[in-house]
Each structure stands twice: as structure tokens, then as C-alpha cells.
């Protein structure tokens, strides 16, 4: 029997988790390698006409590929693998492997369809695909399959939890599983918007069954999903910060009940905030925008609680490792462990990222910044920084765990996380700054008919920062994939194989608050009701004045 099959014989979950995660990295490889070209565009360097990349015809095609592969595909694959594997492992329940493999292949089919459509230059519609820009049906169908597959994973995780509850009457769901289940329930409510948009409108339209669609309605449905999708990306990082990382630093979870409360709050408040992406849309009434802005301010609260609880959990570790004084414990944390160092830096990036997010969620301030370079500046330190850096850092224990191979090079892994951290600081500082100068996002500004400096005067310095950031990030990508490929092909077998670092949750209780929060279906119902209340009146109004607009392909 080959060694490989020996690893997976007892644990077929490992093989599927590995498939999800390696496919995620394949998407990230293609998507992230396009990134520096976009950063150089924002530094005023036009590289596209040099035809370095034979399969990319324009800046906008490259940008669509970058956004779809990184933000939609990489995240969904990684999260589906991770938050399916961890609950199964924590509850010690075998998933339905056939069903789970089917969900993987459905997602893979979706990825291939969407990627082919974009590569063929048929769907340069960005990852927001605002109608009446009209992509190929393969693009919409592909994305729909990715979402449907993720919902199959959600179903399987919730099913496993129900089985566990039946086997453990009176017990509260284990903490990592609880966090995962809340995320999947949130995603189930959140994804309704994009599913309706794509299945009811965009797919029939792209097949020619509808003459046109209503751009204000499809855009609103997109943001029904488009905001909570950022929590779909962020919460798996929180799962690691709460549920795994304290163990990695010899700490413990400071509060079981507050951790659960945070995830209940995210289930409730992640979705009914989508209009804060539409503050400048004429078709959404100002009163409803204000309500969504208010809800957005309150969805900041669970993240602020997270800052406290994670801080305390890490401090317990730092002190156990001999740290003294008010801040001395920070120095004692295992910064030489790339998995820990990367996640600490991810947390640091999330501090300015959260502050910038509160600015964007403010109805009045947002109007100044909507669609400026501030936006990509913001989401490169949130999803591109806090989330992706956490996923990268987790990979440094997860990949050895899944493959039974030692991490290829700890030094290169440390180099990866530091260069990602520093690169994102440069890139994002430049982009936020350019946003304040009203340079628009998603614009091929290095190839303008007007003199760039005539229109966007005074932006030389932030543009230089963006360009430098792009260069550093490119180095980081090279280091990361060297570590990944090195581990898979050259890593020493059966040496230092880490286990999943599940946190010590000493303060867990099967009664009181924790038991109340374990009534997941009640919370699910409240969350669904909340979404209905904040969306139904506006959507009703828009549907009753439906406007049909024909598609356009101006690229």
C-alpha cells in the first residue's frame, strides 16, 4: 500500500479537505499573480499593452479574473474545506463522504465554467457583475454552481451537528462547531439574494429568455449577499483566532459565552446592512439607507468584542510563556512560528481595516468615498489582509496536518507572512490615500486620453506606495507557493505532523447563556425575519415599478 493511501485510509476527510484547499490555492495562484499588474496601473505604469500575459486582453479582463478568482473562488473553496473538516474533527463524526465529494465536484465545475468564460473575454463584468453589463451564461451558471455547492457543504455541517446533538443530549455544541454552524446558517440567509439574482434574472437573460433585467433590482439583490459575504470570509478567520490560535500560543479561550454571543450577533446583523453599499443609488429611499447605516454601526460591536476576547486569550498565553508588564507578553508570543506570526499580523491589519469600514458604513462619509480607490484599499486589508493572511498562516500547520509532511521551510514561511503584511500596508495606504483624492476604483488610469496628472493631480506619492506594495506582494506570492509546493513534493514524511490545535475551553457551560444561544433555529428565524423587515418594503417598491434594460458588452 502506498504511503499516501495509508494517510487517508483511516481519515478520508483529510483527502477531501486537501482537495478543497489545494483547489483554493490554484485559484489564488492565478488570481493573485494578476494583482501586481493592477497595482502597477495605480502607480501609473501601463503594462497591459506589452502583452506579457497572452491570455489577458485588457486591464478590465485581468481585474475581473483577479476579483472573481481571489474574492469569490479562493475564499469559498478554502472555507468549504476548512469549516467542513474542523467540525467533523471536533465532534468526531464522519461526514457523508459521497455527498461531500459531490459538493466538491459541483464547485469545481462552477469554477471551471466561470474561469473559462472570463478567459475567453466574454464576461469582463467584475465580480459585482452589475447588469446591464452582460456576461456569458457560463459565467453566471458557474458562479451559481459555486454558491449551490457551498450550500451543500452548509447542509452537511448542520446535519453532522444535529447527529451530534442527538448523541449528546443536554450538551451544548462544541465551540468550533458552534462557530462554524452559525457561519453556515448566516450564509444560507445571505446567499438568497445572489441566488435569486442569478437564477431568476441573469441566467435566463444570458440564455436569451429575458429581453432585459432591472439594474437597480439586480444590484440590490447582489448586495443582499455582497455585504454578508465579507463576514462569510472574515468569520473563518475568527474561528481560527478564537478556536485554534490561543492553543498555538499556550493560552486558553478567555470567554466561552462571549465567543458564542459574537457569532449569534453576526448571524443576526451581517445581512440586513446591504444598502450601505448603495448609499449613492437613486432607487433606494434615504430612510432605509439610514436604517442600514445604523445596523452597520452595530455590526461593529461583535468585532470590538472580538478584539477584547482574543486580546485576553493571547495575553494569557504570553504570560504563561513568561511575559511580564503591561505589554511585555506581546514580545513573548511565539513570533518565530509562521502560523502564529501571520495571524498576529492579520489581526493588526484588521484594526485600521475595521476603522475604515466604520467610515464606509457611515451614510454621510460614504458619499465622499463611494467607488473611489479607498474601497479596494479597504478590502485589501480586510479580505486581502486579515482574512487571506490568516488562511495563509493556518496553511502552515494545516497542510502538514493533512499531508503528513513537514513544512518545507519555516524561514520562507516567515518571509511570506512578513512580506504579505508589509506589502499590504504599502498597497493599502496608497489606495486609501488615492481614494481621498477621488481617484476612482477599477479604472485603467495608466492609459488615459487626458493627462493623468491633469485630472488626478497631487497623487504621485500614494501612487508610488501602491506600486511598491504590489511589488512586495508579488515576492510574497512567490515565497508562499514555494512553501506550498515544497511541502507537498519535498516535505519530510511523518515528521512533526501537527494535530488540529483545538482551544482549551475551560469556561464552557452546558447551561445558562450558552444553552440559550445553542437554540440555533430560533436565532436563524430571528435573523431571517430581520432581513425580511429591512428588505421587503424597498424590494416591493422596486418590483412594482420594474424597468427592463437590455444587455451591453462594451469591452
Amino acid at each position: 500500500m502506498s504511503r499516501k493511501s495509508k494517510v487517508f485510509t483511516g481519515l478520508p476527510e483529510k483527502k477531501l479537505a486537501l482537495a478543497f484547499i489545494l483547489t483554493a490555492f490554484a485559484a489564488l495562484f492565478l488570481g493573485s499573480n494578476l494583482g501586481p499588474f493592477q497595482a502597477f496601473n495605480y502607480a501609473g505604469l501601463n503594462i497591459y499593452h506589452l502583452k506579457f500575459m497572452p491570455f489577458v486582453n485588457s486591464y478590465y479582463q485581468g481585474l475581473t479574473l483577479h476579483g472573481v478568482l481571489n474574492a469569490l473562488v479562493f475564499t469559498t473553496f478554502f472555507i468549504s474545506g476548512l469549516l467542513w473538516y474542523l467540525p467533523a474533527k471536533e465532534m468526531n463524526i464522519r461526514p457523508n463522504m459521497t455527498f461531500s465529494w459531490i459538493s466538491y465536484f459541483v464547485m469545481l465545475l462552477g469554477l471551471v465554467m466561470a474561469a473559462v468564460a472570463i478567459l475567453a473575454n466574454t464576461s469582463n463584468v467584475m465580480y459585482t457583475f452589475y447588469a446591464p453589463l452582460k456576461g456569458h451564461w457560463g459565467f453566471y451558471l458557474g458562479l451559481a454552481l459555486v454558491v449551490v455547492a457551498s450550500l451543500m457543504v452548509a447542509f452537511e455541517v448542520v446535519r453532522m451537528r444535529q447527529v451530534w446533538k442527538k448523541e449528546n443530549p443536554g450538551k451544548v455544541t462544541p465551540i468550533v462547531t458552534f462557530m462554524s454552524v452559525m457561519l453556515w446558517l448566516m450564509w444560507a440567509i445571505a446567499s438568497v439574494g445572489i441566488v435569486v439574482e442569478v437564477v431568476v434574472f441573469l441566467i435566463p437573460w444570458s440564455f436569451g429568455l429575458l429581453d432585459g433585467v432591472d439594474p437597480q433590482i439586480t444590484k440590490s439583490l447582489f448586495w443582499w449577499t455582497g455585504h454578508p459575504i465579507v463576514y462569510f470570509w472574515l468569520l473563518p478567520a475568527y474561528v481560527s483566532w478564537y478556536g485554534l490560535m490561543p492553543k498555538q500560543v499556550k493560552g486558553e479561550l478567555a470567554s466561552d459565552s462571549l465567543t458564542r454571543l459574537v457569532f449569534v450577533l453576526f448571524l443576526l446583523f451581517s445581512t440586513p446592512v446591504g444598502f450601505h453599499h448603495q448609499f449613492t443609488d437613486p432607487g433606494i429611499p434615504a430612510g432605509w439607507k439610514m436604517l442600514h447605516s445604523m445596523m452597520t454601526m452595530f455590526v461593529g460591536v461583535p468585532s470590538l468584542i472580538t478584539a477584547f476576547t482574543i486580546g485576553a486569550s493571547l495575553e494569557l498565553g504570553g504570560r504563561a510563556l513568561g511575559g511580564k508588564g503591561v505589554l511585555g507578553w506581546i514580545k513573548k508570543l511565539p513570533w518565530n512560528d509562521p502560523s502564529v506570526a501571520g495571524q498576529l499580523m492579520a489581526m493588526l491589519l484588521f484594526i485600521p481595516a475595521g476603522a475604515g469600514g466604520i467610515v464606509l458604513g457611515s451614510f454621510n462619509l460614504n458619499i465622499m468615498l463611494h467607488n473611489t480607490a479607498w474601497i479596494p484599499g479597504h478590502f485589501h486589508i480586510t479580505v486581502g489582509g486579515a482574512v487571506t493572511l490568516t488562511f495563509i498562516a493556518m496553511t502552515f500547520w494545516l497542510l502538514p496536518h493533512l499531508t503528513n509532511r513537514k513544512l518545507f521551510s519555516k524561514r520562507l514561511a516567515l518571509g511570506t507572512v512578513w512580506s504579505w503584511f508589509i506589502g499590504m500596508i504599502f498597497f493599502s495606504t496608497g489606495m486609501h490615500w488615492e481614494g481621498l483624492l477621488l481617484i476612482p476604483r477599477r479604472a485603467h488610469i495608466s492609459n488615459m486620453a487626458e493627462n493623468l496628472q491633469g485630472v488626478y493631480a497631487g497623487a504621485e506619492f500614494p501612487m508610488m506606495l501602491t506600486g511598491i506594495g504590489g511589488g512586495i506582494l508579488w515576492l510574497s506570492i512567490a515565497l508562499f507557493f514555494t512553501v506550498i509546493l515544497g511541502t507537498i513534493f519535498l516535505g519530510k514524511k511523518d515528521v512533526d505532523v501537527p494535530e488540529v490545535p483545538f482551544v482549551d475551553n475551560k469556561w464552557a457551560s452546558d447551561t445558562g447563556l450558552a444553552a440559550a444561544m445553542d437554540k440555533i433555529w430560533a436565532w436563524f428565524a430571528v435573523a431571517a425575519l430581520l432581513v425580511a423587515v429591512v428588505y421587503a418594503p424597498t424590494l416591493y417598491e422596486l418590483f412594482s415599478t420594474y424597468v427592463s434594460i437590455p444587455g451591453q458588452t462594451p469591452w
Partner: protein
């Protein structure tokens, strides 16, 4: 962590939770207070209807500036790939300006530099907000919503004049020197092909010299009329450079406008071309109803790359 430490952490936790909630509440109050006192830049919906219906209204059938009452002006603009119509407006300082903007095709943005005006422009809807310019000068209008291959070139301009200068301009309008062809070109074509006709590397081909040469080819004239009417998509080559932008269809322009703009582009930059396209030529071609890919085929049939 022992029981005592745990209870200390829990106590601080509760304080922190209170602080975080209070902070969010303060933010909400600040946002509401700000908007209560100053909400001119909050976009309003003025109409939601079929774009053809919107474009036929009084406001948009002849977009531009009109004085609606003393010291109050209405600016109507139509956004289209990849320009604003009109692309430049002149306004007096210290006057209330009401912006009415709609889109003919896809989503666009309307953000005025150095101001807090920023609206999403959606086909089927009319966006409205108002602003009072405090300083004379030139203000760029930026399309900040991705609208296609020439998005970065979609810019408009607002020239704000001292009141006396504005009044003088209104009293003695500068004689309209530009021909019809030139004004149609500058409104609709210059954002991609540039006012000089030089085009943009890799995306939009040069017209200067190129159209004059095409006009001399057998069937060249028909091809040019079809291109202007129905657009062109697919990669092309001009003078050794390749271009992969997209030319939109311009069927909404009149026969007179299309013939004038083509004749301008054939001979307007001092080129030696056959600028004899007539309104009748355009009217005859209108019945073709080609797609932009069909026009690419016509181009190849002429022996052009």
C-alpha cells in the same frame, strides 16, 4: 487562568461591551445629525421609467444648463459609454445648481472633484442632487462606476465662472464656430478617439489619416457608415498597431449628425479623404441592422485587418 482572574476578565469584558455599544450609538447620532443639517448631496430619485421615456422628457431631450429661477440652475446630463452629454457645462459661482443625470446604457458614476457630490447613474432612473460652487474654477466630473473598456476616459468638465463673467458670456454668446460634425465628434467620439483623432494605444484606433484612407477604398464609405451606426467589436489592426476596444452603436444619432461627423473625421484634420457622405447614405444603411460583429466581418471583407 484561575477563577479570580476569570472574574476580573469578565468584569472588564462587560465594561468593554458597554463602551463598544456606546461608541456605535455615538456614531449613529453623529451621522443622523450631520444629515439633518446638510443633506444636499444625498441622491434623490426623480424618475423611474423606461430609458426611452426618460430621454424624451423636457429635461433630457435637450440636455444642458437652464436657469430655472433667480440664481438657480438646472443641469441635465446623459451618461453613455464613455462620455457625458454635454461633456462640458459653464456655471456661475455661488448659485444653487440642481443636477439631473441619467444613463442611456449601463451603470455610470457622477462624482465632481473637490466637492461632495457623488451619484450612481442607473439606466431607467434619474439621479438628482444639488450643490453650490463656492469657488470659480474647472471641476472634473469623474465616472467612477466601471462601464466598459474606455471607462477611465469618461470625464466631464464643469467650468465655474465669477458671476459677472458668466452674465457677460450669457449676454454675448460666442458665435458657434464649430461645425455640426465637429461638435458631434467632440461630444460623442473624443472621449475615446481624442479630439485630435489620435486614438489610444491598444484600445481605440487613430482616426486621423486612417478614415481618409478608408474613404478612398471601394466600399469604404459604406463600411464607415455601418461602423458609425452599428458599432464594431473584435480585435483590429491599424498602421501596425492592434486595438481591442469596443465601438458602441450610434443609431440614436440622426442621419444628419452621422453624415456630418463622418465627413468631419475624414477631412476635418486636414486629411485628403473623400468626405462626401450624405444623409441619404446613412438613411439607406439604417435598414441593415447589423451587429457589431457583423461590422467586423464587413471590415475583413474590405481587406482591412
Amino acid at each position: 487562568m484561575n477563577e479570580k482572574q476569570h472574574s476580573i476578565i469578565e468584569r472588564w469584558e462587560r465594561r468593554w461591551l458597554g463602551l463598544a455599544s456606546a461608541m456605535s450609538l455615538v456614531f449613529v447620532i453623529l451621522i443622523a445629525a450631520n444629515l439633518a443639517f446638510d443633506s444636499n448631496n444625498v441622491v434623490q430619485l426623480k424618475q423611474r421609467a423606461n430609458p426611452a421615456e426618460i430621454l424624451a422628457t423636457d429635461i433630457f431631450s435637450n440636455p444642458g444648463v437652464i436657469e430655472t429661477s433667480a440664481n438657480k440652475y438646472r443641469v441635465a446630463m446623459v451618461a453613455q459609454t464613455f462620455s457625458f452629454n454635454p461633456s462640458e457645462v459653464r456655471l456661475p459661482v455661488d448659485s444653487e445648481i440642481e443636477f439631473y443625470v441619467t444613463s442611456k446604457d449601463v451603470l455610470h458614476g457622477f462624482q465632481i472633484k473637490s466637492t461632495n457630490t457623488n451619484m450612481e447613474i442607473i439606466p431607467g432612473e434619474v439621479s438628482y442632487s444639488s450643490y453650490t460652487f463656492k469657488k470659480p474654477g474647472e471641476y472634473w466630473v469623474i465616472c467612477n462606476e466601471y462601464c466598459g473598456i474606455g471607462h477611465q476616459n469618461m470625464l466631464g468638465k464643469i467650468v465655474v465662472l465669477p458671476k459677472a463673467v458668466y452674465a457677460q458670456e450669457q449676454a454675448n454668446p460666442v458665435a458657434e464656430e464649430a461645425s455640426l460634425g465637429q461638435s458631434v465628434f467632440e461630444t460623442n467620439c473624443a472621449s475615446c478617439h481624442q479630439a485630435s483623432g489620435a486614438g489610444l494605444a491598444g484600445v481605440f484606433p487613430p482616426l486621423k489619416g486612417n478614415l481618409a484612407a478608408t474613404s478612398k477604398l471601394d466600399g469604404g464609405k459604406d463600411y464607415l457608415v455601418n461602423t458609425a451606426l452599428f458599432g464594431l467589436s473584435g480585435s483590429i489592426k491599424v498602421d501596425g498597431g492592434s486595438y481591442n476596444g469596443v465601438m458602441p452603436a450610434w443609431t440614436q444619432l440622426s442621419d444628419e449628425e452621422i453624415s456630418a461627423v463622418l465627413n468631419y473625421a475624414i477631412s476635418g484634420w486636414g486629411d485628403d479623404g473623400v468626405a462626401d457622405i450624405t444623409e441619404a447614405d446613412v438613411a439607406a444603411a439604417r435598414t441593415n441592422s447589423y451587429s457589431s460583429e457583423d461590422v467586423h466581418g464587413l471590415r475583413q471583407a474590405l481587406g482591412l485587418e
